[in-house]
């Protein structure tokens, strides 16, 4: 398999590109919060009990802050093709591993809020991993706003895409790199 992937061309085309500001499909809702809490055994009444939350600091059920990008997105179904930055960067393989995530949470997100997001590609580079000597890493920064236009969170994420062992084996250059390591 010839490898005509040009990392420098990808960097030149993609670094600095921004998606449009897009609204999440649905408002912040109770049930996704409940399912989120269930997966890690979280019984915090701020997230789960409307009566308790109404009497608390925020006056309404809030979502765990780490759900901010969930509610700013479209969800898994119905499928919606997104031409935004995170999905558009060309890579060699299509297998993904998410690595590093940094979030700053500025405001609470409450049931009923409508969130929007904008993502920028801030870096793309090649770096070998055990599975692929030519894995492609993409760093993105996402800003999330509520219905009032307030910035509620900023996140930075590093995701790599790699090839399967069969695809790596079919690339003579990768085999040479692997042998030299």
């Amino acid at each position: 398999m010839s490898d005509d992937y040009d990392i420098e061309a990808v960097r030149k085309e993609w670094i600095g590109t921004k998606s449009e500001l897009r609204a999440g499909r649905y408002p912040v809702e109770y049930d996704p919060i409940r399912r989120h809490c269930q997966m890690v055994g979280d019984t915090n009444p701020l997230f789960l009990d409307p009566e308790y939350a109404a009497a608390g600091k925020w006056g309404e059920v809030v979502a765990p802050p780490v759900m901010v990008d969930y509610f700013a997105g479209n969800g898994a179904w119905p499928r919606m093709e997104e031409a935004d930055a995170t999905r558009g960067v060309p890579t060699r393989g299509d297998r993904a591993i998410n690595l590093n995530t940094d979030w700053e949470f500025l405001k609470p997100i409450k049931v009923g809020d409508r969130l929007s997001r904008q993502t920028e590609v801030v870096d793309v580079y090649e770096k070998p991993i055990r599975l692929d000597p030519k894995a492609v890493w993409t760093v993105t920064e996402t800003s999330i706003y509520n219905q009032d236009g307030d910035l509620v969170a900023v996140g930075r994420n590093t995701l790599l895409r790699h090839r399967t062992p069969e695809e790596v084996a079919a690339d003579p250059e990768s085999q040479q790199q692997e042998a030299a390591r």
Binding site: D42, V66, A76, N98, T101, D102, F105, H162, P165
Partner: protein, 149 residues
């Protein structure tokens, strides 16, 4: 549902090196299903062992949504109803896989005065399992009210 009555923690009561005892979770197949349900992340590497192995992995591994939820639970339980999670950074250096038991823990590394009468507390936290040790190192900053508020 039995909900946790979360206690309010105050800035003045926190000291450096204080341990966040945290909690454990067994990564059973039911937990794997809850992971997919809770995160709505249907990428097969997180639920389909054949797909994961074809990609060169030993087995499926738990996803970002689960990982950050586990870290967030430790912090939001700890800071109480008046607190606020300001920052969370984590690195998924190794994997959490089926049959692992994970433990989520932390340590206070710094305490200082913050804005709006709140105190700021820095925490090193992590998720570990017996197979690989600390797989997910993390850092957080939480805001706590003063007891004299």
């Amino acid at each position: 549902m039995t909900m946790t009555e979360i206690k309010q923690r105050h800035w003045e009561d926190v000291s450096v090196d204080e341990l966040l005892d945290g909690y454990s979770l067994e990564l059973t197949w039911t937990k794997m299903a809850e992971q997919v349900s809770g995160s709505q992340d249907f990428y097969p590497v997180h639920h389909d062992p054949d797909f994961a192995r074809a990609g060169g992995h030993e087995d499926i591994f738990y996803n970002t949504g689960f990982t950050r939820a586990a870290l967030c639970r430790l912090l939001t339980d700890w800071h109480g109803p008046q607190g606020w999670l300001r920052k969370l950074s984590f690195q998924m250096r190794k994997m959490h896989m089926p049959d692992d038991t994970i433990r989520v823990k932390g340590t206070v590394t710094a305490v200082r005065e913050g804005e709006d009468g709140m105190g700021e507390v820095d925490i090193d936290l992590w998720i570990e399992n017996d197979r690989v040790g600390i797989a997910t190192p993390a850092e957080a900053t939480v805001l706590l009210p003063r007891s004299t508020g």
